[in-house]
Each structure stands twice: as structure tokens, then as C-alpha cells.
């Protein structure tokens, strides 16, 4: 295993730990301003989107993949519809992957 990977793992661990410990370790009177807390609520949403969007819309050669044969996009659309209907995360993923698999087998 490369030093790069080990450093990557450890850095992620330290960051997560720092976020978890933060206010557990600080004295009680130290708190975040309400406005900062409100802004922080959006961080996970943006971080997830920043990873998901290119994974769905960009090919490995960095070109846009808006074509009809982009099965990933169809799978994501199916998953979104399933989420809106059932509001269940596992169903969302199951429907998305089922859609992908059906398209893949049909295209063969």
C-alpha cells in the first residue's frame, strides 16, 4: 500500500475525528454562532453533489455525457423517481440499479 493512500486514510480519519470531537473538547461557553451553524448544514449537501454530478454527467475522457445511451443518467433518474414516491433510501438505490441492469442487458 502506498504512502499516498496511508496518508489519505489518516487525513480523512483526523478530519472526521476533529469534527466529532470539536465541541466535546471545548469549554461549555464556546459555541458556534447561529449563522455559522445554519451555513454548515449545507456543507454535506454540496460535497455530495460535487462528487455525484460529474460521476453521472461526465465520461472518463472529460466530455459531457448527456446522450440517451448514458445508462447511469437513466439509473439516477429512476432512483430519483423512486425516492420521490417511496422516500426510502434502499428502495431508491435498488430501483436505480435495477434500471441500470435492465438497460445494460437490453443493450447487449
Amino acid at each position: 500500500m502506498s504512502t499516498y493512500l496511508i496518508l489519505g486514510f489518516v487525513g480523512v480519519a483526523v478530519g472526521v475525528m476533529a469534527a466529532r470531537v470539536s465541541f466535546f473538547a471545548l469549554p461549555q461557553h464556546v459555541t458556534l454562532p447561529e449563522s455559522v451553524i445554519r451555513a454548515l448544514r449545507y456543507a454535506p449537501l454540496c460535497a455530495l453533489t460535487a462528487v455525484v454530478a460529474p460521476a453521472l454527467l461526465v465520461r472518463s475522457d472529460n466530455s459531457l455525457a448527456f446522450a440517451l445511451d448514458n445508462f447511469r443518467l437513466w439509473a439516477a433518474a429512476a432512483a430519483t423517481v423512486a425516492f420521490l414516491k417511496w422516500r426510502d433510501m434502499l428502495v431508491t438505490m435498488g430501483v436505480g440499479f435495477a434500471a441500470y441492469t435492465v438497460l445494460r442487458l437490453l443493450a447487449e
Binding site: F24, A25, R41, Y42, A43, L45, T49, A50, V51, F83
Partner: protein, 266 residues
């Protein structure tokens, strides 16, 4: 540590570990285990999926097991695995993981009052085992109240079952993912898994605007070197969320950013 050397080494280690635990009541621990039990099936499926996702992103079985054991970081692992495989700069990897886990900062700010009476080593120990399930179960029950051994037992009960379920299921996922044929396209599971985390977070218009802005910027900046587009998109998206909230007035009900309303992610 000597093996079988009269147990003094082991005894010291055991005492060291016990000193990390907060005072707990037996009934508190039982209560914690009881409320956590119904969340374990969903969490277990989630763990398996995350394990599969990490391996299918291209991490070796050994690397994925090590990553999961060291980081205990749930969705942040799934997000950073492909970044690490692509050789993105460590700063990008770390900040992306941190952004995803900033919700723990909010949790810590919201419940730290329950833990302030404890010595630092016990607070840090409690904090390490925190995740989405402990977060939601504990805040629902006790929130901002001052802690008692009942509270701490409840917390430790939740955390221990949560921790064991996660590690068992994620390890299974890592091993299973390695066995599945490449033609199944299981790597899409990682994307769908993140999408399933993302969708429930879009509760109001600021979130929707933030998602659109982040997605557009992330796609537009995909050619930037060193995967810097990821960070650019996160920062732009965050700013647009806050701006949208300012423009539209505060959301009717401030929602804490738990990754999963169903409590499936830790």
C-alpha cells in the same frame, strides 16, 4: 505487553480502557441497545453497500478494510475512495471528507452540554463513536440536557451496537464486492448510494438551488487539474445556499443536516 505474565499488562490495559468510559447506569445501556436494535438492519445493508462501493471504486480489499477501520467515516469513505484511486491531491481528498462530516460539528455543538461534566479523555472517547444513528437517537431523547449516568449509558449503548453493526457489515461488503464480476457495473452502487444520501437533504429551495449550482460548477470545472473542481464546486454551492436562504428568509424549520433521516448511515 507480555502474554500470560500474571495479567498485570492486560490488567493495566483493561483499566486504561475502562477509564475512557463515562459513568453508566445498566438501565441506560439497556435502553440504548433497545432503541438502536431496530436501526441495525438498515445500517447493515448500508454498510455492505459502502463496502462494495469502496472496492468497486478501485481500492484493494486490504486498503478498503484498513480505510474503514482507521477512518470510521461512512459516506466520506465512499466519496473519497474514487478520489484516492484517481490520485487526487491529499488536500482535495481531506477537505472533501471534512465537508461531508461537518455535520458532526453541529451535533457536537448541539449535545456537548450532556458531556461537559466528564473528563476530557472520556469526552474524546464518546465523540469518536458518534455517527448519524447516535446523533439522531441521542438528540431526539436528550438534546441539550445536562448529562447523568443514565444519559451516558444510553449513549454508549447506542454507539457500541452501531459501531459493531457498521464494521461487521462493511467488512462483508468489502469482501463481497471483490467477488462480483466487473460486468455487473457495481461501481454505480457508489454513485446511487451517494445520490440516496443527497436526495433527502433537498428539503427547501435553498438546498435545491445549492444542488443545481454545485452540480453545474462541478461539471464545468471537471477539466481543472488536480481535481480542484470538486472544491470549487463545494465552496460555490455553499455560498449559493446561504445567499438563497438570506434572499428567501430563514427556512420555516431549521433542519439539522443528518445524512439520513432513516438513520441508515452512521
Amino acid at each position: 505487553m507480555k502474554r500470560g505474565g500474571g495479567g498485570s499488562g492486560w490488567g493495566r490495559t483493561l483499566r486504561g480502557v475502562l477509564a475512557l468510559l463515562p459513568p453508566m447506569s445498566r438501565s441506560g445501556v439497556r435502553e440504548g441497545l433497545k432503541v438502536t436494535a431496530p436501526t441495525t438492519p438498515a445500517l447493515a445493508v448500508w454498510g455492505v453497500v459502502s463496502g462494495v462501493a469502496m472496492v468497486k471504486a478501485g481500492l484493494s480489499v486490504g486498503a478498503a478494510l484498513l480505510f474503514n477501520f482507521v477512518a470510521f467515516a461512512g459516506s466520506a469513505q465512499v466519496v473519497t475512495a474514487p478520489l484516492l484511486v484517481a490520485g487526487a491531491p491529499l488536500l482535495v481528498v481531506w477537505s472533501t471528507a471534512l465537508a461531508i462530516n461537518l455535520r458532526f460539528l453541529i451535533f457536537a455543538a448541539a449535545t456537548s452540554r450532556s458531556f461537559t461534566q466528564l473528563p476530557l479523555r472520556q469526552r474524546v472517547f464518546c465523540a469518536y463513536f458518534n455517527g448519524d444513528v447516535p446523533y439522531s437517537l441521542y438528540s431526539m431523547r436528550y438534546g441539550m440536557t445536562a448529562g447523568t449516568p443514565d444519559h451516558w449509558g444510553f449513549y454508549v449503548g447506542i454507539c457500541s451496537l452501531n459501531y459493531l453493526t457498521w464494521h461487521a457489515s462493511c467488512s462483508v461488503g468489502i469482501l463481497l464486492g471483490n467477488l462480483a464480476p466487473a460486468s455487473w457495473g457495481l461501481e454505480l452502487i457508489a454513485v446511487l448510494c451517494l445520490l440516496a444520501l443527497l436526495l433527502p437533504m433537498i428539503v427547501n429551495r435553498p438546498e435545491l438551488i445549492g444542488v443545481i449550482v454545485t452540480a453545474v460548477v462541478a461539471v464545468a470545472t471537471v477539466r481543472l487539474p488536480l481535481r480542484l473542481g470538486v472544491l470549487t464546486a463545494i465552496v460555490t454551492g455553499l455560498v449559493s445556499c446561504v445567499a438563497a436562504e438570506r434572499a428567501m428568509g430563514p427556512a420555516p424549520e431549521p433542519q439539522l443536516a443528518t445524512v439520513d433521516a432513516a438513520g441508515a448511515d452512521r
